[in-house]
Amino acid sequence: MKSIKRTQRVTSLIILLFIIGMAILVLKIIHESSFYMMNSDQLQLGYVYDRKGDVLYDGTGKGSYPDNYFIDVGNIIGDEKGQMDNTLVARNLEKLNNYNFSDGLLKDGGKAAIYTTLDHAANRAVFDAYGYMKGCVSAYNYKTGEMLVCTSLPSLDVTKGYDNIQSFESATLLSKNLYGTVPGSTQKVSTVISALEIMGSGLLYSKSYTCTGKYLNQTGGEIDCHNAYGHGTQNIQEAFENSCNPFFAQLIEDTDLPFERLKKQYEKLGYVLNGDKPKYLDIDGIQCATASTTLENPLEFKTQWGCIGQGDTLVSPIQLMMWESAIANETGRMTMPYFIDHVTNTRGTVKEKAKTKYSDKLFSENTASGVKQIMLTNGADRYSYLISGYNIGVKSGTAQVQEGAKENSLLVGFVDDPSFPIAFCILIEDKDSGWLTTENIAQVLLDNLKNNF
């Protein structure tokens, strides 16, 4: 009988292993069933709402909306059709699908929905302010991380479908906020951060360089200033306000700013250097490109030009905006942005409530305070009459694109007000093609956000 019991033990072990396997399988299926259904052709999508309950996307297709009602957020909210991959709906079909394992796919009455942090009215106002011009705007609450505005032009009304896709303008199907663009002089914010972090404020403020309108660097490269007559001798605050290229070229060359430490600081800020593999930030499933630049030799034109924000340097507007939060909060940590405030399941129960998250420390609190002060002074000196009613810290930039044939205008900044903590990045493409300025857009943006804040 003992020997027969031995065989029973073997049989029991085999059965037990199988039961364990089945238990794992069942748990896996229940846990991943929404993902499986997301990959099927059968979807019953719900709604996407803005922060006040305004519809941004109607998955049921049953509602009727005014013409171009969704155009301001068309390429960031997107749809399920598959034409736009990097959008909120495309990346969150699982959350939006009216499916759960117990109830199955609900054709009617499902309450699955995504409640975003976006402000539809503000997005619309900013979108309309562009008129015929193109560009993008992103803005968020730098205390909480709530994305309030993320509009990009040209855009589309997803309810109209893609029958005339051939006639769509270039970049209609993507939000420019998520992709790298030449930052122009807004890059100088990163360079100032790095210089302050490495040299300290005492040493940096003691440095002064002369601008004669043109600077011939140590390897024979020529750095032009936008002011052909030159800015004369300046310190860091003056050079920042003047956006003086020769000053920053000389700062990069300075031996008090060790190049290896500069590179490390740039990497800490999130830059991919010298053609390394690109990286992406994940914002509720949406991929946002991180910054990239070339830093090879501090004495060469290419590196200096990169630190000034031209040439190979690319930064996404959202990344530019995120750095502002690390400065405005005076913590050196970026507040991570999010679009989804909460999600409801098929029964309307709230789940996945968003929480504020911060990045690792990019630079010290002292550096953050120092840069904040520089930007606030710049805002007060140069922009208080252009953007009225707000105590703002800003940096503008002009980016040469298409080999200098066109220029884009950028403005990054933040509002220094604890009750209205907004960081933003504004891009106007081909600025010379119209009358619009980034300051106009900033005014519209802040006024609209303030009204509904």
Binding site: K2, I4, V10, Y36, M37, N39, L105
Partner: protein, 436 residues
């Protein structure tokens, strides 16, 4: 009649009730276009139930549990397979009848180990012939199946019960050690190792990698039980050595597996869901679509996908009947394999046979279910009793008969003394027994 006719009647009612409940579900939730089709299916199932209940009365067994479980699962299978095509699946029905007959053949052939022991050479010969047949079929048609009309037979399937018998019959010779040079050798072990090696070679040559784990499981269980016999406890050293050897062989096998096997090991079904991951991704979507209670018999879309009725049958049943019902189906098969735990076999030979069959059934089921659900690489083997396929059902039936034989063994020496009244009184009285 039975010593306990109440148990017999209760079991009959339970099986008929279970099948009737399934038929009622089809009536209310099914997708059969013709009422007549449901009636035909219902009549066929109930008639087969009743006919089998009558037939088993003619077999003198100490336990009939496996018979009731077999008819329960087979007619469940008939109902499933009919729902997949929304009409009575007569081909599967006939195969199930053959399966029932095969179970009775298996019972009769295997209940007396002395006969099998003395005819062991025919078992080895049978395995050799079948291996040859597999090779001939492969080289002649580059195929694994022999087609007879609309029925297909897979010769390699028939090796399974013979291999189980080879493992079980070798137990008695485990004591006969022969000294070759300085080694104590058991000829049976060498013979079985050679058979296993031959099976592996032929299966690899004929590109039937899916069946290999089943054979390996039978061999491993047989080997473990052989090396532990007749000691009172497991030899841990040997056990560890065996496991280590298996792991080494597995690693070597995986490293040198052909390219298409390697690809299956690493395929990401969701990034290749229209290519190599098609069946698995569709299977998982179907399970999710079915939820706990299914979309209704015949209402699933997975029945439009290739191999819906065999390789991914668990998902097809889950979609139409729900995951809960599919799990009950699996539980029924598990109970079949677990019967020797509840009602122990009467000899080590039958115990070894039962363990090997349990291993074969469970490994096959695991390969099918876990493979189709992307928990392990997809192999394309069948679930015993449920998947369509003549040879699979035939062999599963035969092996269930072998399990039944373990429940009601015949011992020659007992038979010779059976006339003695005192011996008769010493025999244990099982719960269900034939009143002699």
């Amino acid at each position: 009649m039975y010593a306990n006719p109440v148990a017999y009647i209760f079991s009959c009612i339970f099986v008929i009730f279970a099948h009737s409940a399934m038929l009622v579900n089809i009536w209310f939730n099914g997708n059969f276009s013709e009422t007549r089709d449901i009636a035909v299916l219902g009549a066929a199932v109930i008639i087969l139930d009743i006919a089998f209940f009558v037939v088993i009365l003619f077999f003198k067994q100490m336990s009939y549990v496996l018979d009731f479980l077999l008819i329960l699962i087979l007619n469940m299978s008939v109902i499933f397979q009919s729902c997949f095509i929304c009409k009575f699946n007569i081909k599967h029905y006939i195969t199930c009848i053959i399966c029932l007959a095969a179970s009775k053949c298996g019972y009769i052939l295997c209940k007396n180990h002395k006969i099998l022991q003395s005819n062991k050479k025919y078992i080895y010969g049978g395995i050799g012939l079948l291996l040859l047949l597999v090779l001939i079929v492969y080289f002649a048609k580059h195929d694994m199946w022999i087609r007879i009309g609309s029925f297909t037979l897979q010769p390699s399937e028939f090796i399974k019960p013979l291999f189980v018998l080879a493992c079980a019959t070798s137990i008695a010779d485990q004591q006969k050690k022969h000294k070759i040079l300085i080694f104590n050798v058991v000829y049976e072990n060498i013979a079985l190792f050679c058979i296993m090696a031959a099976i592996c070679l032929v299966q690899v040559k004929s590109h039937d990698y899916g069946s290999l784990p089943t054979f390996i499981s039978i061999y491993c269980v047989g080997f473990i039980l052989r090396i532990c016999y007749p000691k009172a406890k497991f030899s841990k050293k040997k056990l560890v050595a065996v496991i280590a050897i298996i792991v080494v062989f597995l690693l070597i096998g995986l490293k040198y597996a052909p390219e298409y096997v390697q690809h299956r090991l690493h395929v990401d079904i969701w990034s290749d869901k229209t290519g190599d991951g098609y069946q698995q991704s569709q299977a998982l979507i179907a399970i999710a679509n079915g939820g706990w209670f299914g979309v209704g018999p015949g209402r699933g879309y997975l029945s439009n996908i290739f191999a819906y009725d065999n390789d991914i049958v668990f998902a097809t049943v889950s979609e139409e009947w729900g995951l809960l019902f599919a799990l009950m189906m699996v539980l029924t098969i598990l109970i079949i394999t677990a019967v020797p735990l509840i009602n122990p076999t009467r000899s080590y030979y039958h115990a070894t046979m039962s363990s090997c069959i349990c291993a074969a059934f469970i490994v096959q089921m695991a390969l099918n279910i876990f493979g189709s659900c992307n928990l392990i690489p997809f192999t394309g083997v069948t679930i015993p009793f449920i998947s369509s396929g003549g040879s699979s059902l035939l062999v599963s039936g035969f092996m269930t008969g072998m399990l039944t034989a373990g429940q009601s063994p015949v011992f020659n020496e007992h038979r010779s003394k059976s006339k003695s009244k005192s011996k008769k009184q010493e025999e244990a009285v099982p719960a269900w027994r034939w009143k002699e």
